[in-house]
């Protein structure tokens, strides 16, 4: 038998490769977000669905166009733009005007990501950059909440008709959601979020409602349960660092627990803090964005503690009912500093030769 009629390939070691790739990680983050997304549509209806489609579409399209403009191979296939689009939709009010959502999507990808050099280079979570822009540009629209229709309203109207603000014309004052709510519902359905109720009316929402997702709020904040489920899935597949959500939630619980113990009347319980508002979604899906978070385990604990503490402080002491977004952006901003302070101690450094 003779050997050697084929071409020989040469390359440098290692010659084998782990199976996990960046696009698979991104794809699985999308999978983990799907239950949350589906539940948002179920609770808030057609308007939420439209908004999710619009932001995701805008983000993907913006990314594609920007790649073309830069004369580069398109990067939409790595799914990171899809994640940005989904996350942006999930942290906006369900009846948010669609044209504003488009603005948010474009801003997320251009200012939040492409301007810095694309995937891997963005210091901040792109979806939160988009949301921060919208908060500054449209402060009223972004705090106009539609109520969670499920389970108080059984009618299917939310799936057949669109809430009026959703389709407002660009640069026009959005319609109020009140008319729609009256159209479909009984009394007592309010669009105030649990955090706003707590802040301005001192009224707590039952924990079970927060956990299952029967409260007003951003589209994806509703069900803490599904968010945790997605997080566990990603951690189990080693596509997310479990330290990020754990450190944030533990710190938030500890800080708000301290407040609660100091004055049980004035401050909400730590459990309420964890399960209300965008903290859960932020901790599991936004702060855990690998690009904007530190790399070493110690760095991640510092980063998580910072986000958890700042969130609680903004909620309890600041002027806004919710502080997750700013806390995460602040955490992102501190990441390079944390990284440089927590460089791993290299093997064999510092120690002097041991005398045998």
């Amino acid at each position: 038998m003779s050997v050697g009629t084929h071409a020989i390939d040469i390359r440098t070691s290692p010659h084998i490769k782990g199976q996990l790739t960046t696009d698979t990680i991104m794809l699985h983050v999308v999978y983990a977000l799907l239950p949350v997304t589906a539940f948002a549509v179920f609770v808030f209806g057609l308007s939420a669905l439209l908004m999710i489609l619009v932001t995701t579409g805008t983000c993907v399209l913006t990314e594609h166009v920007l790649c073309k403009l830069a004369k580069k191979q398109t990067t939409v296939r790595d799914y990171s733009a899809v994640i940005t689009g989904l996350l942006l939709a999930l942290c906006l009010p369900p009846a948010f005007p669609l044209w504003m959502a488009v603005v948010g999507g474009v801003v997320s990808i251009t200012l939040g990501k492409a301007l810095f050099g694309g995937l891997g280079m963005n210091p901040f979570n792109p979806a939160l950059v988009g949301r921060a822009f919208l908060q500054a540009a449209f402060p009223v629209a972004i705090t106009t909440w539609a109520p969670a229709f499920w389970p108080k309203v059984w009618s299917i109207e939310r799936f057949t008709s669109i809430m009026l603000p959703t389709v407002s014309l660009p640069f026009m004052r959005p319609e109020s959601v009140a008319a729609f709510i009256q159209g479909v519902s009984l009394d007592g359905l309010s669009g105030a979020t649990p955090l706003a109720k707590m802040k301005f009316e001192h009224q707590a929402t039952p924990l079970i409602d927060l956990f299952v997702g029967m409260t007003a709020g951003s589209a994806g904040e509703a069900s803490a349960f599904l968010i945790i489920l997605g997080g566990i899935y990603l951690c189990a597949r080693k596509m997310m660092n479990w330290r990020v959500p754990v450190s944030i939630l533990v710190t938030a619980a500890a800080v708000s627990g301290a407040f609660y113990l100091s004055d049980r009347q004035a401050y909400p319980t730590p459990m309420f803090m964890l399960f209300s508002g965008g903290l859960m979604l932020g901790a599991v899906f936004m702060a855990s964005d690998m690009v904007g978070s530190p790399m070493s385990p110690i760095g991640i604990w510092i980063y998580g503690a910072l986000i958890g503490a700042v969130t609680v402080l903004i909620r309890l002491k600041g002027g806004l009912p919710e502080g997750t977004m700013y806390a995460i952006l602040l955490g992102n901003a501190c990441t390079p500093l944390i990284d440089s302070l927590t460089q791993p101690r290299i093997f064999g450094a510092r120690k002097k030769a041991v005398k045998p």
């Binding site: 290692p14 010659h15 084998i16 995937l119 690009v291 790399m295």
Partner: protein
């Protein structure tokens, strides 16, 4: 991360768990490969100065006869692996693609290949200095892949002491099973080798480290510890790169070799089991190293196994003997993590070759040379690096060619190219390759200064 209360074994921090792929050959006993008609013996099969030929063209040599003498202290002699005639002394293709001087031998097909050299020696009558010379005369080098002359490690520099000899039976590279088989089949030689090395170094104890994926070898070695020898056998976690000497030292005796140092700096000498088996076998009868066990494996090989082959056997001959599936394969000398791809089939098996792997392109683990994504700072490499470096940061600096910052602030020179970072990188970034280039440039700059 390790949980001691889960009964996990001694190990080091970080590292990876690549699929072992050892099932192909782990149960295949060592078999002798036929002698190739023509052998190629590069004069530089080891680290250090090349050997100097002491034969001339046309000279007949007997199997085991010295054919080259050491070119210095960090060098070893060479012995004729077969009875035959010196064809020529000239340039031969080496594994890295270049040409280097070698001795070519044509085998006498009718010869009975008896080894006619050597003389029985009582090792207990030799002083440590004489032992070092005797080890050098066997031509044994590190058979675990490094090919560093073993006697150099036995000659203690002034002021250094070694209290512990560590015997490396980890074989953490996927696919390879040579050390595994040697531990099962050559136990007595290994213990003879351990005794010699301990005597030469004046060490008080020896520890054999074997990964938990070779429990049969652990039991075999434990059962055979000779009475009166201060030697223990430890089962340690199967993890890559457990067999790297710094990692193994940390795992077994808890000492951290200082940055830029050697195990000897913490009073430890690390030797591969295969090396010790050869010393134990050859030194008492004063013979030279003329053959070694090589794992031939991978999906591209018809009959994978552990073969005892003459040093100098051309790769082409090996593949013809074991059956080679003619399809797109990557041919590797050594393990898949740190081995070298071979550019020509006319390259010979040398003393440092632990395995010959033919990994087909469609193997699930094969490197796909896929698209390189930007670094997403996932930190997988940071958690994998056994030297606790920051490969991600180093990779970014390498892209910017900031080699000075890499060496000064990020300890590039501590990287030993184990390949963990490249293996885990989801973005397909060829980190190890970047580091090789950076190191080469740094070394060159240092020389030109």
């Amino acid at each position: 991360m390790t949980f001691p209360w889960f009964g996990s074994r001694k190990t080091f921090a970080h590292g990876i768990h690549p699929p072992e792929c050892k099932d192909l050959t782990r149960d295949k006993g060592i078999r002798r490969l036929p002698f190739a008609p023509h052998l190629i013996l590069p004069l530089s099969q080891h680290t250090g100065a090349p050997a100097k030929p002491i034969v001339r063209e046309g000279q007949e040599v007997v199997r085991g006869e010295p054919i080259a003498e050491p070119g210095g202290f960090v060098s070893v002699p060479m012995h004729a692996p077969v009875t035959g005639v010196i064809e020529k002394i000239g340039l031969a293709r080496d594994a890295r693609g270049g040409m280097s001087p070698a001795i070519f031998i044509e085998q006498y097909q009718a010869a009975n290949q008896e080894i006619l050299y050597g003389a029985e020696t009582d090792i207990d009558s030799l002083s440590p200095a004489e032992l070092v010379k005797a080890v050098q005369a066997t031509g044994v080098v590190g058979l675990g892949g490094a090919a560093f002359p073993t006697h150099v490690k036995l000659a203690l520099p002034e002021g250094k002491q070694v209290d512990t000899v560590i015997v490396n039976g980890c074989e953490c590279e996927p696919f390879l099973t040579t050390d595994h088989r040697v531990m099962l089949e050559q136990v007595d030689s290994i213990y003879k080798g351990i005794r010699i090395v301990m005597r030469a170094l004046g060490a008080k104890r020896a520890i054999v480290g074997i990964e938990t994926n070779k429990m049969d070898a652990v039991e075999r070695m434990r059962a055979a510890v000779p009475a009166g020898l201060a030697c223990t056998v430890e089962a340690i976690e199967a993890k890559y790169p457990q067999g790297a000497e710094k990692m193994l030292t940390k795992a077994l005796v808890g000492r951290e070799v200082p940055s830029g140092g050697l195990p000897i700096d913490v009073g430890v000498g690390v030797f591969n089991v295969g090396t010790l088996a050869q010393i134990g076998e050859l030194l008492p009868i004063r013979q030279g190293l003329i053959e070694r066990v090589v794992t031939v494996s991978g999906t591209g090989v018809r009959s994978p196994g552990n073969y005892l082959m003459a040093i100098g056997t051309p790769l082409r001959f090996v593949l013809e003997q074991v059956g080679f599936r003619e399809r797109e394969c990557e041919l590797i000398f050594g393990g898949p993590m740190m081995g070298t791809t071979i550019a020509s089939l006319d390259v010979p098996v040398t003393k440092g070759v632990t395995g010959i792997l033919a990994i087909a392109k469609d193997h699930p683990l094969a490197h796909r040379n896929g698209r390189v994504y930007p670094c997403i700072k996932c930190g997988a490499c940071v958690e994998a690096c056994p030297m606790h470096l920051n490969p991600s940061e180093l990779g970014l600096l390498a892209r910017k060619m900031e080699y000075e910052s890499m060496t000064e602030q990020h300890h590039l020179m501590d990287c030993f190219e184990c390949g963990c970072c490249s293996f885990v990188c989801p973005s397909n970034i060829p980190l190890v390759q970047y580091f090789r280039v950076a190191k080469a440039v740094t070394r060159e700059r240092k020389v030109s200064k």
